[in-house]
């Protein structure tokens, strides 16, 4: 009997829509389980997104702060002499610095040594509260960007009389909430009237725990020697480095090595680098959470394959190839983790929004963290689904069908 070979049999390709539909069958029939294992992934992703988002928001806040404060403030302080003694800035240094071309403003404070500050004369002498007295130039706030929270700053008149403006920390330690003509504090053995209280000064934080009095008042009431201990200068933004290079020599031409020059905004920028290191650590913890979520998905998928042997057998009898069964379970795993990933991104973004709103920060979730997070979930979902999917496809159809 001559047999004519029948045409070759080729399995039909499944359409993408059918692949997704079939991959979602397990999720639709067991929504609670799908939700819980997606939640595992979501928590991991949310943790990572929130860590990155909060750190990015905090940096955005730092950038905004730096932009508002300006990075063109330089400070000049006396260093030490060659013999290790404290140096002094020459009295002319302020005027000489002011004559540097790009410098736009100069101001100074002088530490008044040895004069302790007390709220009243009833307080024991040893309880100094760690506060310092500074003689301040009248134009100080404009140069360092300080703002008065309450009351007024010193003016030409009050600078000559016993009037004091307290830094934010100093006011808190002394228990003084607002400026008041009747409110007096004791500096040394002279009563000073509190005329104003400053907001915290970001670029000169040492002034926060200081009591600022007029230059002339310091000289006449407290025996201040008149030497500036910090000179603040602002210069044109693009000339800051040039000014910095000549500042020491200008402030003390005879002993430029006894002068320290610094840029306070550098300290804020350094904070940013420190924050980044910490973020890396937290990100690692988020990654561990994500990995645990991935193990959860793998577990769900293994159980799903065990429970659905009969379904696998049926699909094989309907003509599914091994590859199509494998694709089905891999798709299910990917869908599961993608759901978790999208949920996690939304959750993480919500946490970031909440936290930065609470902190009054600008809100920022970097795009790379979102795309990286979603990419990581798909990778983990694929990895978690691979083994169960291969197991499902290796199942013999007859064994699968006889499973009760």
């Amino acid at each position: 009997m001559a047999v004519v070979d029948p045409p070759r049999l080729v399995p039909a390709r499944m359409r993408v829509r059918d692949i997704v539909r079939v991959g979602g069958v397990g999720l639709r029939t067991r929504p609670t389980r799908a939700f819980l294992s997606a939640l595992g992934i979501a928590i991991g992703i949310a943790a990572m997104i929130a860590v990155v988002g909060i750190s990015a928001s905090s940096q955005a806040q730092l950038d905004r702060q730096l932009a508002a404060l300006g990075t063109n403030l330089l400070t000049v302080t006396p260093g030490q002499t060659m013999f290790g003694e404290d140096a002094k800035l020459p009295p002319e240094s302020e005027a000489m610095i002011g004559r540097i071309g790009p410098v736009t403003s100069v101001s100074a404070v002088g530490r008044v040594k040895g004069e302790k500050i007390y709220r009243t004369d009833k307080i024991p002498v040893v309880n100094t509260g760690g506060l310092a007295t500074y003689a301040a130039r009248v134009d100080l706030p404009a140069t360092i960007g300080a703002t008065v929270r309450n009351g007024t700053w010193l003016n030409g008149a009050t600078a000559r009389y016993p009037a004091v403006v307290l830094g934010a920390t100093a006011a808190e330690r002394l228990g003084i909430g607002r400026a008041d003509p009747d409110r007096q504090i004791l500096i040394g053995d002279v009563w000073f009237t509190v005329v104003g209280i400053l907001d915290p000064v970001a670029l000169a934080p040492e002034l926060d725990s200081g009591a600022l009095i007029g230059w002339e008042a310091a000289e006449s009431y407290l025996g201040f020697d008149g030497y500036a201990t910090v000179v603040f200068t602002r210069s044109d933004e693009d000339q800051v480095e040039n000014v910095r290079n000549v500042l020491a020599a200008t402030a003390n031409p005879q002993a430029a090595n006894e002068v320290d020059v610094s840029r306070p905004s550098d300290a804020l920028s350094a904070k940013r680098a420190a924050g980044a290191a910490f973020t890396g650590l937290l990100l690692g913890l988020g990654g561990v959470a994500l990995l645990v979520g991935g193990v959860g998905v793998a577990n769900t998928m293994v159980i799903s394959v065990l429970e659905r042997r009969a379904e696998i057998g049926l699909r094989r009898s309907l003509g599914a190839t091994r590859g199509q069964v494998r694709t089905q379970f891999l798709t299910e795993s990917l869908l599961l983790s993608a759901m978790g990933g999208v949920g996690g991104v939304l959750l993480g973004a919500a946490v970031t929004i909440g936290y930065s709103t609470f902190q009054d920060w600008p809100f920022s979730v970097p795009f790379w963290s979102v795309s990286g997070g979603l990419g990581a979930t798909l990778f983990i979902g694929g990895l978690a689904g691979l083994y169960p999917a291969i197991r499902a496809s290796r199942l013999s159809p007859t064994e699968a069908l006889t499973t009760p």
Binding site: V3, P6, R8, L9, V10, P11, A12, R13, M14, R15, R17, D18, R21, V22, V25, R28, T29, A310, E311, G313, L314, R315, R316, S317, L318, G319, A320, T321, R322, G323, Q324, S396, P397, T398, L401, T402, P404
Partner: protein
Amino acid sequence: MIKLSEATKVYAGGVHALSGVSLTIESGELVAIVGPSGSGKSTMLNVLGTLDRPTSGTVSIDGYDIARLSDRELSALRASRIGFVFQQFHLAAGMSALDNVADGLLYGGVPLAERRRRAEVALQRVGLGHRTHHKPHELSGGERQRVAIARAVMGDPPLLLADEPTGNLDTASGAGVMALLRELHAAGTTIVIITHDRELADGLPRQVRMRDGRVVGDSAHTPVPLADTAVT
């Protein structure tokens, strides 16, 4: 349609589920394969349905020697030529009758809309046109088996294999299902019903009796080794 010669299936451990079975089923037949449990009739169903290959001997379905086909090709053969009906129905719990039936051609490369349209027709054909959107748990046993039959025949396969199709049904529902299978047979489908129920088998045009992995009686042919030459 189906041609087995000296088909043998030995399972690990030396169990001879089929020992040298030769059998020919022509296109358009309605055949019962009947025997007690352990007679090898389930293995017979697996081999006829290409879910399993014989250890030795040849099995050819619709002209294809299944021993020479790869797993992919066997899948394509099942998708295009064989419909299955199982005792346990094997319907997906969360899906409507319509979508369960529409899955019958899921692996046949037919788009969803067309599958649903044909599923609708198939459900009407089994008398469940009014139940298309019910889920399996909202249907009676007989209705569920009708849905399973609709799924098996919606692609118009030339061969329908039914494994104890009335095994989980009461008498009335079982009779309804059998009547439906006869109708499908009358419309031209080759149907093989595997059953242990002699009464049911006796009501069909041809009975193949099995015991201990051998064909011990065939109402149409004499089961002797020379059966091949005796085909009329």
